[in-house]
């Protein structure tokens, strides 16, 4: 039989008339010194059944602890420091075998029967839930595949569409060029100054002026809106300061700022509110221009074709003559002999306008399609986790009321803290990335000890963490952020919210999306085995 605290598998190591320290073969002691409550081996291996070697550093220990058989339940190892300390450590040793010395009169009866039943019940329930979770995960993966396929299909059709539109754009560009060319070649387009075209000039100037004013107004309004936005932001900062400042810091600068802010609030009650009526007026002014300037500007067919010599020339010569005349005129202008031609922008024929409009429409269609294509490709390239499992969850939000707040987060979206007392809402950050960590609740690593059965009622964390960052800046602290720790669950749920340190939140979220990770990690191990290991 194995000495106290030794598992049946390890019993052979303790057979024989002498014992050799497991990792220090140079030290051999009589068997009578095994478990005699005095630590002889520097690796603790001679005292698996007492606390005599509990002082050794974890790294030096050659044994996993005190082995509790836990018949009717699962065997487990208890840290040596907990052997005979007067506490029944049922969460690990349900058989109470760790307190055989009854120090201080403690007596731990074997509770493995009841604990075993409870644990098995819990295990069955857990398995059932995990089964549902795995189903949910499989559905998500399937859905993700379909979504990917759909997206890929759309990429293809969009690409084809874009190709078609590109051709169309080219054609329209040509048409516009032709129309412009035709326009340019028209002789005596605008009346000279001092002649009968005075009204035309006036109208031209008026249109120009009107457009300038409208553009100016538009710009001013944009700047005003931007300024208001900044003011709002600044006021928000001050309001947050007043709300959140710590009077114990006793900072004169802060106190002064808070006082000044209060006075400001008292004086400035209404100033920043926008007047709706005024806004409507502005909208009208900036809307469709009621004046059809083109009607006034449309130049009738030239008064006399005589001026239009080019029109009488054959096509081939016409271009040559036009170019020569143009060059000649340039020379005259540059030498100060001829006045420059009156500039008349915006005064174009209906044909040119129509061609330009058609082109614009086509170009915009092309842009839209390209944007869609980029979006589709971006989405396809986004990391949605193993098997794209989070793809179907994108935009799905869950929340829970914790304390005086409603906490909400959306997969691949934003996280918020909303007050239940008022309507205020604080951004806790936006989704940044998925991280895969070692689930912290897996024991036995780095000499750490398992939390045990008692704390195992909750589904353990998967190690998959959704990182949300860049939330609202904290007073005296960092920008808020959230670590969304995921565990396997049949439905999406927010189990707990904790502000682990100032402005760094930790959400524990259940979702089927991580149920598959367990299946995949198990590598041949059955679910049942995994579950039992957990316990």
């Amino acid at each position: 039989t194995a000495p106290r605290g030794v598992s049946p598998e390890d019993a052979r190591l303790y057979a024989g008339s002498a014992f050799t320290c497991l990792t220090h073969p140079s030290i051999t002691i009589p068997t009578s010194q095994v478990n005699d409550d005095f630590c002889d081996c520097p690796d603790g291996s001679d005292e698996p059944g007492t606390s005599a070697c509990a002082h050794l550093p974890h790294s030096a220990l050659a044994i996993r602890g005190f082995h509790c058989r836990n018949e009717q339940h699962t065997p487990a190892f208890l840290p040596l420091s907990r052997v005979n300390d007067g506490v029944c450590d049922y969460e690990i040793c349900c058989d109470g075998s760790d307190e055989y010395a009854h120090v201080g009169g403690v007596s731990c009866k074997n509770r493995c029967a009841e604990i075993g039943i409870a644990a098995r019940k819990l295990q069955a329930e857990r398995e059932r839930l995990r089964g549902d979770g795995v189903k949910g995960w499989a559905e998500l993966v399937k859905k993700a595949q379909i979504m990917r396929k759909e997206a890929e299909d759309e990429v293809k059709t969009t690409e084809v569409k874009i190709e078609g539109i590109e051709g169309k754009v080219k054609g329209l560009e040509r048409e516009l060029r032709d129309a412009e060319e035709k326009e340019r070649r028209r002789v005596v387009r605008a009346p000279k100054e001092g002649e009968g075209g005075k009204v035309g000039v006036l109208v031209g100037t008026a249109k120009e002026r009107s457009e300038e004013l409208r553009a100016g107004l538009e710009k001013v309004r944009e700047e005003r809106d931007a300024a208001l936005e900044r003011l709002k932001k600044a006021e928000g900062i001050l309001a947050a300061l007043k709300e959140g400042y710590n009077p114990n810091f006793n900072d004169e600068g802060v106190k002064t700022a808070v006082r000044a802010w209060e006075e400001y609030l008292a004086q400035e009650e209404t100033s920043t509110k926008l007047n709706d009526a005024e806004e409507r007026d502005l909208d009208d002014l900036l809307g469709e221009d009621p004046v059809d300037w083109d009607e006034f500007l449309e130049v009738d067919e030239p008064q006399s074709d005589l001026y239009n010599i080019e029109a009488y020339l054959p096509e081939s010569i016409k271009v040559w003559v036009h170019d020569k005349l143009h060059d000649f005129r340039q020379i005259l202008v540059e030498n100060g002999i001829l006045a420059p031609a009156p500039d008349t922008p915006g005064i174009e024929s209906k044909a040119v306008n129509a061609a330009r409009a058609a082109l614009k429409t086509a170009e915009s269609e092309e842009r839209n399609n390209r944007a869609r294509l980029t979006a589709l490709n971006d989405d396809l390239n986004t990391a949605y986790g193993h098997n794209d499992v989070f793809r179907p969850l994108k935009g799905e939000c869950i929340d829970a009321d914790v304390g005086e707040y409603k906490y909400e987060f959306c997969f691949h979206g934003k996280a918020h803290q909303k007050s239940l007392k008022d309507s205020s809402s604080t951004s806790l950050g936006s989704f940044a990335r998925i991280e895969y960590t070692t689930p912290e609740d897996v024991g036995g690593q780095h000499g750490l000890f398992d939390a045990g059965w008692e704390e195992a009622h909750e589904e353990g964390l998967s190690g998959v963490v959704l990182k949300y960052d860049n939330g609202q800046q904290c007073w005296n602290g960092p920008k808020r952020s959230v670590n969304v720790e995921l565990y396997c669950s049949a439905v999406n749920e927010l189990r707990s919210v904790r502000e682990e340190e100032k402005c760094v939140y930790r959400f524990e979220v259940g979702t089927p999306a991580v149920c598959g990770d367990r299946v995949e990690d198990a590598k041949g191990e059955s679910m049942e085995e995994r579950v039992r290991d957990e316990l």
Binding site: A52, P57, G104, N250, H446, L448, F449, R498
Partner: protein, 923 residues
């Protein structure tokens, strides 16, 4: 620190006036005559108490100042000077104030527990204008010069303390405010003082008391905590390396305090020790008002042949109250601390758990958070005893409540902790939220238990954590009784027997008050002005909490309370532990902590610690690790962090740091038996837990200024924690020529006096064992100290040629049964003559311990290690063990020391009981 928030001496009227007077007196030299004269006709001595009248001659009148001079059996003498007109109420208060007319005469009531053993056979003699009194132990004498009044305290004919040698004595007598606003008595600080937007109405006008106290031939003075300064106090009148400001005692919440400064901090103990080679004396200035102390040192040659030595001259100034000075004769530290403890009481023997490791943070935010931290400590196998809750656990900062959302079920949380014998300390502060819906707040107002404003009729309202608040006035006995009732389990629902209390902000801290505290003209119980009692305020509060906790379980079930306080006064040691307040996570604050804690120890309040890790800011992992190694030697050992700081529980540090921190905490736990024994000695003799060099070696002047290494109790363990970055070795001053010091861990030997280099890479703590000591330890780490109760001991014998000895004190660590004799007190002596280690009983009445001894009878010694054995021990295989009538053999193992290490032998499982007499014979 914001210097502008706190007064300099020049901004504190009476300090400015008294410093000016000192400057005038110094400038005038011998030509100035102090106006104080003892009226020889009034002198009378009866039963060890001399009474007389001192006249203050100010031209037109002689102000009568009654003097009471008491002489005690143990050599302590007390000088108390009052003001006749004030005693009889013949003064008028301005502004219709309701304040009392007397000078404050109740500081003694709060601070003292003894000092009544008058030396009834004191002998008086008057000749040539000098009255001499011989009293106390042989050779003690006081010489009072009548004109001008001055007093010399002599021992064997030599003066050790002199009062008014420099004529700085000053008692500002009451006078009416001159009618004429341009009156000639136009000192702008006499009638009102404005600071930080608050005006002090000073209804009694100027009333300060001051005295110069000279220590002839004493070149070091220590004490007067709390200051972030060196242990050996610095000069304060400028010059290279000196301060320009006096040391100040005015309890205040000093935000982000700076180090190496005489600025005031949270607590004050106006007790000063002067040390010269071979002699020590002390002065206790019993005054609870704002106090400043100037220190200068004069180089003097007694004669051409003697070495140059300094005479330390001090100047004490208090804003109001009596002039009340105790002179404690020493002549060595252990006598002095006993004398001081006889006056103000000794530090309470703490509950055993409270000297183990405490885990705190502002804040553990929920009961789940608490449980999670608790679980993680176990998971990482790190022991801890106490988890703490800062202010956020309450419902909107209303004390005696729990946040209903985050602490829904505190009882279950507390039961979870109790399973491993762990405790919770929750914060409860003296500011009571001013909130109509807060029953306790309403009661405070309705019953009139709050501190009043200057009218004396309206409850004072100020700002603290809860916003608008009132302050409980614990000077009021009815208020204290009420406070006690609040701790009833039916009233403080959700608290449990393992809930203890942290009293913070009790200076009191008032966010919008002058110097972050209360206006001086506020009125307390019995119409005393806050000015008079300010430095006592914190103590009255933690005393009240202590009394409440002591009897919480009902009559006959008294337990030793644990109360942590930030503010304190002389006498606080009887009921509370303190910590050094809001320090910062940087190396300089780590280094500053030890001088502060050593000063606490020699001022009678050794249960002291600094926040491990530093309160403000984020420590690097190296700093955190070094801080844990240092903190393992704080009498009060608590990790803490500000709410804005990152989490830093020891298990978060990552390797190798977690393992090093675990080792440091485990080291503390293994030495808990010696810590507890040291606390026990402090609790009846006053010896500090951490002993500075000058206490251990009072003849070694070279070490008088050392404050970065110290000794742990009587164990001879010399520690020099590392307090700077990137260190791999350090210099330790080994003070003795003929004593070997062994490295605590590997027994490397350090021989001979001098500065020695000791390796100190990150994983190690420089720790030496002085030979000649026996150290009891418990080497098995458990989850909490309570779970170590029945674990076996290891005895480490650091051999010296003359032998070795050690002491162990054990009791249940919880109740007062020890007062009825339920304790174990053993001596361990190794006699090199017969090579025998003996366990002897130090219990004066062993029969009274029977029941407890029975409970502990199975607790044994599992190992004895003798360090420093010679090679002749090499072949020893067994030793003879005798216990009672039985004799048996125990195995021993010889381990040869190599590379400068001492050889040692290990006795394997001698199976002797800790409660019994036994011998182990190595011959």
């Amino acid at each position: 620190v914001k210097h502008g928030d706190f007064k300099t001496c020049a901004q504190s009227g009476f300090c400015k006036r008294n410093r000016a007077l000192a400057d005038q007196a110094t400038a005038a030299g011998a030509s100035r005559t102090s106006p104080y004269e003892l009226d020889a006709n009034t002198v009378a001595l009866k039963d060890g108490v001399l009474t007389a009248t001192i006249l203050k001659n100010i031209g037109e009148e002689n102000v009568e100042l009654p003097l009471v001079f008491s002489f005690l059996d143990n050599g302590v003498a007390r000088v108390t000077i009052d003001e006749a007109k004030r005693m009889t109420g013949q003064i008028e208060l301005r502004h219709g104030s309701t304040a009392k007319k007397e000078r404050y005469n109740e500081a003694a009531k709060w601070a003292l527990v003894g000092g009544e053993n008058f030396h009834k056979d004191a002998i008086i003699k008057t000749e040539d204008g000098v009255t001499s009194v011989a009293y106390g132990p042989a050779g003690y004498q006081v010489k009072i010069t009548h004109k001008p009044f001055s007093v010399k305290f002599l021992k064997d004919g030599e003066a050790h303390v002199v009062l008014n040698e420099r004529s700085f004595m000053n008692i500002e007598h009451w006078r009416p405010k001159p009618e004429d606003s341009d009156g000639n008595k136009g000192d702008d600080t006499w009638w009102e003082e404005a600071f930080g937007g608050n005006t002090d109405s000073k209804p009694r006008g100027p009333e300060s008391v001051a005295m110069d106290i000279t220590f002839p031939g004493y070149d070091h003075v220590y004490g007067i905590p709390e200051h972030a300064s060196s242990l050996s106090l610095k000069e304060t009148r400028g010059g290279e390396g000196n301060y320009n400001e006096p040391y100040r005692l005015y309890n205040a919440d000093v935000f982000e305090y700076e180090i190496d400064s005489p600025m005031t901090l949270y607590g004050s103990i106006p007790f000063m020790q002067a040390q010269k080679k071979g002699s020590t004396v002390g002065v206790f200035w019993l005054n609870a008002a704002e106090t400043w102390i100037d220190i200068v040192k004069q180089k003097t040659n007694v004669n051409a042949l003697s070495p140059e030595r300094a005479t330390t001259q001090t100047h004490w100034m208090s804003e109001s109250g009596l002039l009340d000075i105790f002179v404690l004769p020493g002549p060595n530290s252990s006598w002095l601390y006993k004398q001081y403890g006889d006056l103000t009481g000794f530090t309470a023997l703490p509950a055993a758990f409270s000297i183990a490791y405490h885990q705190c943070r502002w804040n553990y935010v929920s009961q789940d958070d608490v449980k999670d931290v608790d679980r993680k400590f176990d998971k990482f196998d790190i022991p801890y005893d106490v988890i703490w809750l800062d202010i956020e656990y309450t419902d909107s900062k209303k004390y005696f409540t729990w946040d209903p959302l985050t602490f829904k079920d505190p009882e279950t949380m507390l039961k979870t902790l109790d399973k491993r014998e762990r405790k919770l300390v929750a914060i409860i502060d003296p500011h009571i939220k001013n909130d109509k819906n807060y029953a306790i707040g309403n009661e405070l107002v309705n019953k009139g238990f709050g501190v009043m404003d200057k009218t004396g009729k309206k409850i004072y309202e100020g700002w603290c954590w809860p916003g608008s608040s009132h302050w409980i006035d614990c000077f009021n006995p009815a208020a204290r009784a009420w406070w006690k009732s609040l701790f009833d389990f039916k009233k403080f629902v959700g608290s449990m027997p393992n809930t203890w209390i942290w009293n913070d902000m009790n200076e009191p801290s008032v966010f919008n008050g002058p110097e972050t505290t209360m206006p001086k003209d506020n009125i307390h119980y019995d119409n005393w002005e806050h000015r008079d009692v300010h430095n006592l305020n914190g103590m009255t509060f933690h005393n009240a909490t202590y009394e409440a906790l002591k009897t919480r379980l009902g009559p006959g079930k008294e337990r030793r309370p644990f109360v942590l306080t930030r503010s304190y006064f002389a006498g606080s040691q009887r009921t509370a532990a303190m910590w050094t307040g809001d320090n910062q996570a940087d190396w300089s604050h780590l280094a500053q902590a030890f001088p502060m804690l050593l000063a606490q120890g020699i001022a009678g309040m050794p249960f002291a610690g600094a926040d491990v890790g530093g309160f403000f800011g984020n420590p690097s992992k190296e700093l955190l690790t070094r801080w844990y190694q240092a903190g393992a030697f704080y009498p009060f050992f608590r990790g803490h962090a500000h709410i804005d700081a990152k989490r830093r529980e020891p298990y978060l540090a990552g390797e190798p740091y977690v393992s090093i921190i675990r080792d440091a905490i485990r080291l503390r736990y293994s030495l808990l038996p010696t810590w507890y024994t040291a606390f026990h000695r402090a609790s009846w003799e006053g010896m500090p837990i951490l002993r500075p060099h000058f206490v251990m070696f009072p003849d070694d002047e070279a070490g008088f200024a050392i404050d970065d290494q110290f000794y742990l109790g009587d164990t001879g363990i010399l520690v020099k924690p590392i307090v700077s970055e990137g260190v791999t070795e350090t210099s330790v001053y080994v003070p003795e020529e003929n004593m070997v010091y062994y490295d605590y861990f590997d027994y490397t030997m350090y021989n001979g006096k001098g500065i020695r280099s000791v390796p100190a890479p990150l994983g190690s703590i420089p720790m030496l064992m002085r030979s000649g000591h026996i150290i009891p330890r418990k080497d098995r780490p458990r989850r909490s100290s309570g779970l170590m109760r029945y674990d076996p001991y290891t005895l480490v014998v650091a051999l010296a040629p003359g032998g070795a000895g050690g002491v162990l004190y054990v009791d249940d660590g919880e109740t007062y049964d020890n007062k009825d004799g339920a304790f174990i007190h053993r001596s361990f002596i190794y006699n090199p003559g017969d090579k025998t280690l003996r366990s002897g009983n130090l219990h004066p009445e062993p029969a009274k311990a029977a029941k407890y001894v029975k409970e502990m009878r199975d607790v044994r010694v599992e190992r004895v290690i003798l360090v420093g054995v010679t090679d002749e021990w090499k072949d020893k295989k067994t030793v003879e063990v005798k216990q009672g009538s039985k004799t048996w053999d125990a195995e021993v193992k010889f381990v040869e020391g190599k590379e400068g290490r001492a050889s040692h032998v290990i006795v394997r499982n001698p199976r002797v009981a800790i409660v019994k007499d036994w011998t182990i014979n190595f011959a």
